[in-house]
């Protein structure tokens, strides 16, 4: 196997909400350019895991490192600065802003106020916005408020906002929820493309979708990671069949 740098390392993370243990002593890791799928039934703790990684919820215990730097308790801004970008399960975009403004919000986020007040980077970003919007089939809607987009288009917009900044780690919580099979296919292509310069964590329900796309898959059940391995290993794992596949 080629030696790839370890990008993200989640070690023994536990997250409790009161007495509910949403994530229980879970570990996972992602190398550069690797796509890891996180599979599991409803309520198994996938989103909670993602939130611990992006800093939305701090874990109760455990350790998270990015490029060997500990980030367990860092705030979201610091994690974004370190190269993390996220698409939430329910698209969290700026509904009253246009598609163009949404992408610009992502692109300019780390720039100084004085550059922003002078609109110094607008020209440069305008090009990038058109490029992304073309890729994500939003070019005809650039000046439409995001709230007027279809559900699938909103997901695409949020993914495009995440990949816009060339993140080193991309977190995608159910990127294809509510999409047609054709749209899923296109999304898979776009995600594959993004993995050329990023490690990616995808949360999904649909094994068929992620087994094509992912290098490795981890399966969660009641907050625990019950299996990890290549898509083939996961598909033939009897434990996985028992806890997950039979339920679908």
């Amino acid at each position: 196997m080629s030696v790839k740098r370890n990008l993200l390392e989640v070690k023994n993370v536990t997250k409790k909400f009161g007495s509910l243990i949403a994530v229980n002593n879970a570990s996972l890791h992602i190398s550069e350019n690797e796509i890891l799928g996180l599979l599991g039934p409803n309520g198994s703790g996938k989103s909670t895991m993602l939130h611990a990684i992006c800093g939305r919820n701090l874990p109760t215990s455990g350790e998270i490192t990015l490029f060997d730097q500990e980030i367990t308790m860092k705030n979201p801004t610091a994690r974004a600065a370190a190269g993390m970008a996220i698409k939430f399960q329910l698209a969290r975009i700026y509904l009253d802003k246009t598609v163009r403004e949404n992408i610009l919000i992502s692109l300019q986020a780390k720039e100084s106020f004085f550059k922003q007040i002078r609109s110094a980077t607008l020209k440069k970003h305008e090009e990038k916005i058109r490029e992304l919007a073309t890729e994500f089939q939003l070019i005809d809607y650039l000046h439409l408020p995001a709230k007027q987009l279809s559900h699938g288009q909103q997901q695409w917009l949020e993914i495009s906002m995440a990949v816009a900044v060339n993140p080193v780690l991309l977190l995608l919580d159910e990127p294809t929820a509510g999409m047609s099979p054709a749209e899923r296919k296109e999304t898979a292509v776009l995600i594959k493309k993004a993995s050329q310069h990023a490690g990616i964590l995808i949360v999904e329900h649909d094994l068929d979708f992620i087994k094509e796309l992912c290098d490795r898959i981890s399966v969660m059940h009641y907050g625990e990671i019950v299996a990890s391995g290549t898509p083939q290993e996961i598909e033939s794992n009897p434990k996985v069949r028992e806890v997950y596949l039979t339920r679908v």
């Binding site: 992006c54 800093g55 939305r56 705030n75 979201p76 801004t77 974004a80 600065a81 970008a85 996220i86 969290r92 700026y94 009253d96 802003k97 403004e101 610009l104 919000i105 992502s106 300019q108 986020a109 780390k110 720039e111 106020f113 550059k115 922003q116 007040i117 002078r118 609109s119 110094a120 980077t121 607008l122 906002m161 900044v165």
Partner: protein, 304 residues
Amino acid sequence: MSPVLIFAGNDYLTQIVTRILVYGILVLSVEMSWGQTGIFTFGQAALFGVGGYATGLIATKANITDIFILIGLALIIGIAIGMLISLFLFSGRRVGELYVALVTLALSYICERLANSWTFLGSGNGVPGIPYPSIFGHSLGSNIQVFYLVLVIFILLMLLCFYIVNSQFGLTMNAVRDDEERAEFFGYKRPRVQIFTFILCAALASIAGCLFAVSEGLVSPSMSGLALSTTTVLWVVLGGRGTLFGPLIAMAVLQIFNTEMQNVLPSLWPILIGIMLLLTMVFLPKGLSSIPNIIKSKREVKTL
């Protein structure tokens, strides 16, 4: 037509229009912080009062009338207080809108109490007898000249705000307003955006306070009080958050009515204002200026 002709010989009218322009700068500061950035401030009158009192005291006690020095000193004090408050409010974890409202409301309360009870600040009488300001050693000797001064500064500040709101930074302000947590996930330094905006708005309010002092010739405790703070929010609510002109128009209309209504219905008028605030917040959360859009979208629904 030159304002001189309109106001010809009418000092009263000149003063009303000047006051509208001064309040225009004040309402601009509320719109920039609450309307554009989502900082629900009930403390703009406090900063207005700080600017006013600083100017009044310096002008009367130190005999300084140069408008640039007066504005400069009011600015320094306003910015310093704005910095203290915003560092306290925003440098830590995210705090809720209501928390911000309560702290700034308390600030207004404290300022009004201080002005009322501290003899150095003139207690209940405030600071009267503030002289006309001067520019480059040339003294402005009449209300109409002060009007011109205020008009020029108002236009400059209005243009500044317009420029900022339409810049990339304006989008940053809105991103923080609409979802401050989301903005952090994109990498925005949310505390800095809020602190920067709050200080900018403190600067605007203290300039407005300074101009109030030199144009009215008097500052009194009520200029930093709860009533004015609430009224500034009402202007923005009525005019519509997120627009620069809506709140200005709402303020101007209310000011014109204000003087008349205070004579006609002295005790009922404040209650009417309160009811208006309530009704707009409930039925027209985006303000009166959103009515054309609502009618438009109703028509669109019909034609569908």
